[in-house]
């Protein structure tokens, strides 16, 4: 599902004025259209499961504060992801600084198997997801961010360059390196899984 397209269609409504104005954006509509994808983005960017809802709330508190300044010229989804990126960095940094909280967060680490899986299919999906998150976690932050925005959130290279504040060529080169590292880690992890008794 293309969250960006839906969000743009759903939440932007021009004022009934003769003059062209910035569209009025309803925060509740923005939340409803985008919060699942922001949640996914935060998770992929390394926010621990135990802190995901805190982080999501922080994102939308920022959105609430700044929504009136959003002029509608930029893509709303890109704007949201830029906020999510900053919040995710904050949470990652905090987890690294606080070993106790990191330890607590590991209780919900995606690399650990889910508690209950009702079917074989969902078990397989869950295993793939856990493995993908472990591979993501093996990337350094720079590669991880580019990889998540490009491959998970399906953003374009110029959008990624805009959100991360890096040159376009750096996006391409970083993504190439990230994909190689991700695939190598997936291969390594799968080999390790198969070799287990």
């Amino acid at each position: 599902m293309n969250a960006g397209a839906l969000g743009r269609r759903a939440v932007l409504r021009p004022l009934p004025s003769a003059e062209p104005k910035a569209p009025v954006i309803d925060l509740a509509a923005v939340y409803e259209a985008h919060f699942r994808y922001v949640w996914r983005c935060l998770r992929s960017l390394g926010v621990r499961d135990s802190q995901l809802e805190d982080a999501l709330q922080d994102v939308f508190i920022v959105v609430q504060r700044k929504l009136s300044a959003f002029d509608g010229k930029a893509d709303l989804r890109t704007w949201l992801y830029a906020i999510a990126l900053r919040i995710a960095r904050k949470y990652r940094d905090r987890a690294r600084r606080e070993p106790a909280s990191l330890e607590a967060a590991r209780e919900h680490d995606p690399e650990l198997p889910a508690a209950a899986e009702p079917s074989a299919d969902s078990a397989l999906e869950s295993e793939r997801l856990a493995l993908a998150h472990r591979a993501l976690a093996s990337l350094d932050d720079e590669k991880r961010e580019v990889f998540v925005f490009a491959r998970v959130e399906q953003m374009s290279a110029p959008e990624i360059a805009s959100v991360l504040g890096i040159p376009l060529n750096t996006v391409y080169s970083r993504l190439r390196a990230a994909r190689l590292a991700f695939d190598a880690e997936v291969t390594r992890l799968r080999a390790g899984t198969r070799s287990r008794p």
Binding site: L27, A28, E53, L136, S156
Partner: protein
């Protein structure tokens, strides 16, 4: 570059399919409403989020003055909610609202943000809140999505009569705001229970515009003026907006919302230039 031309591994697909479950989504909706973020157009609903953040500072009042315009506006909107029908989800959950504020006041010195959040999350939402959430979730996009000048249509409007009949809610909210405005920086270390703390507060209306507060301003009067000014700006009624801004400048030259007044003035100037 088109990412689609590259091979898409099942692991990338798994990451893309990793969305919150329905149970998680519902929990997050409840939480975000309880925090006052996504209820309507953030008027009134901002009260708890902004106020609880303010409680982490040395002085709630000084923090209050530094809050953003919507946050300040939220305080008065919460007071006016029984009439205006704004922020009903919050008003239908006085226990949660009060709990959030009441439990976080002592946390200014001791507790962490995370602990306060967990405390707020542990509160059981009231049935009306859940009903409002369901209504918000189930409403079709065309109904739910309205411009800012028509806040919370899908959530609040049907419940306005019920709220107006509830005479106990306004004093509680008023008390919450009053407490925020006068909370000392050194909060008591032993927090009374959230509800009892607010029951002990006299149920009096906040000072009116005719009764200037100690700092020479009253937030509610200022907010009403600037609320009307911004509403006038939203419908392109510059004359009214200019008059209201001027009135605010005359009555509250050093008011708590002077920055917002300057913002309104700047918007007026910009629009005049844009003509």
């Amino acid at each position: 570059m088109n990412w689609d031309d590259e091979e898409d591994s099942v692991f990338e697909q798994a990451l893309r399919a990793d969305l919150p479950t329905l149970a998680q989504q519902n929990r997050m909706r409840k939480r975000i409403l309880a925090a006052g973020v996504a209820a309507g157009t953030a008027l009134g609903s901002t009260t708890v989020a902004a106020a609880t953040q303010a409680s982490f500072g040395a002085s709630a009042l000084s923090k209050l003055s530094a809050l953003s315009w919507p946050a300040k506006l939220g305080l008065t909107a919460a007071l006016a909610a029984p009439v205006a029908g704004v922020a009903l989800p919050l008003l239908h959950t006085p226990a949660r609202t009060v709990a959030s504020v009441g439990q976080r006041q002592p946390s200014a010195t001791t507790a962490s943000m995370g602990a306060a959040r967990k405390a707020a999350n542990s509160a059981t939402p009231s049935a009306p809140l859940e009903a409002a959430l369901e209504a918000a979730h189930e409403a079709p996009p065309g109904v739910q999505i309205e411009p800012a000048v028509e806040p919370s249509v899908s959530i609040s409007a049907p419940r306005a009569p019920q709220l107006a009949a509830n005479n106990t809610l306004k004093p509680v909210i008023a008390a919450a705001v009053t407490t925020l405005g006068t909370a000392p920086s050194a909060a008591p270390s032993a927090a009374p229970s959230a509800v009892s703390a607010f029951e002990s507060i006299p149920h009096e209306a906040p000072p009116s515009a005719a009764e200037p507060a100690r700092n020479g301003s009253t937030l509610s009067a200022e907010t009403q003026l600037l609320d009307r000014a911004f509403a006038a700006l939203a419908v392109n009624d510059r004359a009214t907006a200019a008059a209201l801004v001027a009135e605010h400048a005359r009555r509250f030259p050093n008011g708590l919302l002077r920055q917002e007044r300057e913002r309104a003035r700047a918007r007026l100037t910009q629009e005049l230039k844009g003509e």
